[in-house]
């Protein structure tokens, strides 16, 4: 008895497996094909005197095998043999076949059909596997590329989420266990139900077993599976997969497939050192935040006494008692000038923390470029007392839409650098012109110029040209800040120099809004 039960269970399982690829559609399709072949043969019977027709039924069998799999091919075989016996072999309209040769023929047909169907179905399965492998490989490739391009943990989690979603083929929401609030937005358009979130939280906090996975139904009757991506470490995230509305059996099956996929994914992820990468990115972000907070608070603390020093120094410089005593006056000037410089360096540090803190949101407004240039020159007037500044701006420049204060600061950095790296008495030229769809602003000096090495590293934070490290004080932040400010306004910066000692030209290009002419004509009425 148990043996029979086992056999019947095996049969049922085999049938189920055979039935899967095409399902009911496959069976119905097979029957349709056989019916059409029968109708065709019936129609031709009157026209031609046909030899044994049974072989024609191989066509639906093979077609069904390739298209819908083995089960549907079996159905086609059976139906084909039955139709031949019923419609074409005497006695007609009974399933009985009189002629022994024809009976043998039917048997042979059945054998050939089964073998052919089996082969065709296997071919189909194999090509399907190959296709799936191919897709898996290309998915994996896309995944690894996304990982390589990721700069932050959220990028990496994004990549994992997308990868799982493609591999599992269902809606997947990945939760970052140590993220600021836990990632809560799934890849699809709707949210993860509250009930599922609760389970996710329980898995993250260790109250629920994440390794085996927990299934839960939400209020719409959708089933969700919640589990840790890797049973070994929660760092790779906790995943919630929408299984949809499934019967217990199919759900069991899908869960088994997901298990396998997650297992693969987790080991792939571990292999490419992802856990390590995530920890590293976190540490880096943490330490940068800490550094910026430190710089920010130190700068503010430094500024308070600096305000008193600078203020007092300027009072001293102008006091009659000091002004009448040239040696004292020059000392007072040193105190004043150096505190000004210290103040600028502190301002640079503050600007730099603004950039890395991602707090840089340009406040765009329509501005006149000449206003920006004049403000930048005005603010630095004292500092290029010994340089001849020449400004060359055409009268009718288009309005641009930028954060005027940021652009003024960037231009100011150009001017400060030009004054710093060129000899007193030399000329600094500021030029502006329209260049197609951009507005260009250039500052040229007749100073130290750039070496090939300088040009390569110029945009880097804290970079200082080797020739100037000893001779000219500076932090190497200025150009980097200018670059970030201009980029935040959608512009670009380039620096060029004909060579060492031959001067430098730094140019910023800012986009001219497409509708500017129209706006100008509207508002000038």
């Amino acid at each position: 008895m148990p043996r029979i039960q086992f056999l019947s269970q095996m049969t049922i399982q085999w049938l189920r497996a055979a039935a899967r690829p095409g399902g009911t559609v496959g069976v119905l399709g097979a029957l349709c094909l056989v019916t059409s072949v029968t109708i065709l043969l019936e129609g031709m019977k009157g026209v031609l005197d046909l030899p044994p027709v049974v072989i024609t039924y191989l066509i639906p069998v093979l077609f069904a095998a390739i298209r819908w799999g083995l089960m549907s091919a079996m159905v086609a075989t059976l139906a084909g043999a039955a139709s031949a016996a019923f419609f074409f072999y005497r006695p007609i309209h009974t399933f009985y076949v009189e002629d022994p040769a024809r009976r043998l023929g039917l048997l042979l047909f059945a054998i050939v059909a089964v073998v052919a169907a089996y082969l065709a179905a296997r071919m189909r399965r194999e090509s399907e596997i190959v296709r799936r492998r191919e897709k898996e490989i290309s998915d994996l490739y896309a995944f690894s590329r996304r990982l390589a391009g990721g700069h932050s943990t959220s990028d990496i989690f994004d990549a994992i989420e997308k990868h799982l979603a493609t591999v599992v083929g269902r809606r997947v929401a990945l939760f970052d266990p140590r993220g600021p609030s836990g990632r809560s937005e799934p890849i699809g358009e709707n949210d993860v139900p509250q009930k599922v979130r609760e389970i996710v939280a329980a898995v993250i906090s260790g109250h629920a077993d994440g390794g085996a996975g927990t299934a839960i139904a939400d209020e719409h009757g959708n089933h969700w599976l919640v589990r840790a991506v890797s049973p070994k470490t929660p760092d790779l995230g906790v995943v919630a997969i929408d299984l949809g509305q499934q019967t217990p059996e199919t759900e069991q099956e899908i869960r088994a497939r997901i298990e396998a996929v997650l297992y693969d994914a987790a080991s792939t992820i571990e292999k490419i050192g992802l856990a390590h990468a995530i920890t590293e990115v976190r540490m880096r972000a943490e330490s940068e935040r800490f550094r910026d907070a430190l710089i920010g608070s130190v700068s503010h603390e430094l500024r308070t006494p600096l305000a008193s020093i600078l203020g007092a120094a300027t009072v001293l410089c102008n006091a009659p008692a000091v002004a009448g005593e040239p040696r004292l006056a020059s000392l007072a000037n040193v105190v004043r000038d150096e505190s000004e410089r210290l103040n600028n360096e502190i301002q640079n540090l503050l600007d730099a923390t603004r950039i890395t803190g991602e707090a840089l949101q340009p406040k765009l407004e329509w501005v006149e470029v000449t206003d920006i240039v004049n403000a930048a020159l005005e603010r630095r007037r004292i500092r290029f007392g010994s340089h001849a500044v020449e400004v060359d701006l055409p009268n009718e420049m288009p309005l641009i839409q930028v954060d005027a204060v940021l652009i003024e600061k960037a231009l100011g950095q150009f001017l400060t650098n030009a004054a710093k790296y060129s000899p007193p008495g030399s000329k600094i030229r500021v030029r502006g012109w329209r260049d197609g769809e951009t507005l260009a602003l250039a500052v040229s000096d007749e100073g130290a110029g750039l070496t090939a090495e300088d040009s390569v590293h110029l945009g880097e934070r804290f970079f200082r040209g080797r020739r100037h490290v000893q001779s000219t004080p500076g932090s190497g932040l200025g150009f980097w800040i200018a670059n970030a400010f201009v980029a935040a306004n959608g512009g670009t910066i380039e620096a060029e120099s004909p060579g060492e000692g031959k001067g430098t030209t730094v140019t910023m290009r800012l986009p001219i809004p497409a509708n500017v002419e129209q706006l100008e004509s509207i508002s000038s009425e």
Binding site: H300, R303, T304, P305, L306, A307, S308, I309, L310, G311, A312, T314, V315, N318, A319, P320, R336, S339, N343, K363, E365, W366, V367, E368, T370, D371, I372, N374, A375, V391, L393, N395, L399, D403, A404, V405, E408, L519, E520, S523, S524
Partner: protein, 241 residues
């Protein structure tokens, strides 16, 4: 200005002793007489009790926010007020100008700059009290009563919007008027963010009144905040003092 009777009284409000100390020296060397307050309440009391011609007000005070002090003093007095602040955000400046601040200086600053700005706001007040309707800035003459504008001896033809802009600015020469205020006054509330309207009119106006429109000396831009007219020429009789 050394005569004690005519020396302007300046009230310095800052909670930091060192700042008050150099401001006192700086102003006294320039002939002012100086009073000090180290918090908001003291500042308000001092402004009511003592004759005050100018207030230098730090924004970060231990008891009240500087802008509250500004608002309270403005509720009864139009004494010139210059704000000191470590913050240099344009939004903050706009807010303070609209609350009635006359000028804004970012810390750290040099004494010469503060003295220059102080002179401008004091002169403006002196002009306002004379009630003169003719304002001369450089070679420009604006006659608010007759609604005439001259460059040198030549009378200008201005569009209504150009004249309105000049008129608003000339009511408080030297004072910054914010973009929003100008847009609201000239084009109305719906256009309060259409800064490009303002830019175009300013460009046209500068071409008429400035000798070098690209280097304006009369109609000045406060980047990210608004516009102001350069300080008016000293009236001939004031120079005699």
């Amino acid at each position: 200005m050394s005569d004690a009777a005519t020396a302007p009284n300046v009230l310095v409000v800052d909670d930091e002793l060192q700042i008050r100390r150099f401001l006192r020296s700086g102003f006294e060397l320039d002939g002012y007489s100086v009073n000090e307050a180290e918090n908001g309440r003291e500042a308000i009391r001092a402004a009511t009790l003592r004759p005050t011609d100018l207030i230098i007000l730090d924004l970060a005070l231990p008891d009240l926010d500087g802008s509250q002090v500004l608002e309270r003093i403005r509720s009864w007095s139009n004494v010139p007020i210059i704000i000191l602040s470590v913050k240099s955000s344009e939004m903050e400046k706009v807010r303070l100008f609209e609350l009635g601040a006359d000028d804004y200086v970012t810390k750290p600053f040099g004494m010469a700059e503060l003295l220059a700005r102080s002179k401008v706001v004091l002169r403006r007040k002196a002009r306002a009290t004379t009630g003169d309707s003719v304002i001369r800035i450089d070679h420009l003459k604006i006659d608010l009563a007759a609604r005439n504008v001259f460059v040198g001896d030549e009378r200008l033809t201005l569009t209504p919007k150009e004249y309105r802009l000049l008129q608003i600015l000339a009511q408080y020469p030297g004072n910054v008027v914010t973009h929003q205020e100008l847009l609201k006054e000239i084009w109305g509330l719906p256009h309060i963010n259409d800064t490009h309207y303002l830019r175009i009119v300013v460009r046209k106006l500068r071409q008429k009144i400035e000798s070098e429109p690209n280097h304006p000396r009369i109609l000045l831009t406060e980047l990210g905040v608004g516009y102001r007219l350069a300080p008016p020429n000293d009236p001939p009789d004031a120079q005699a003092d």
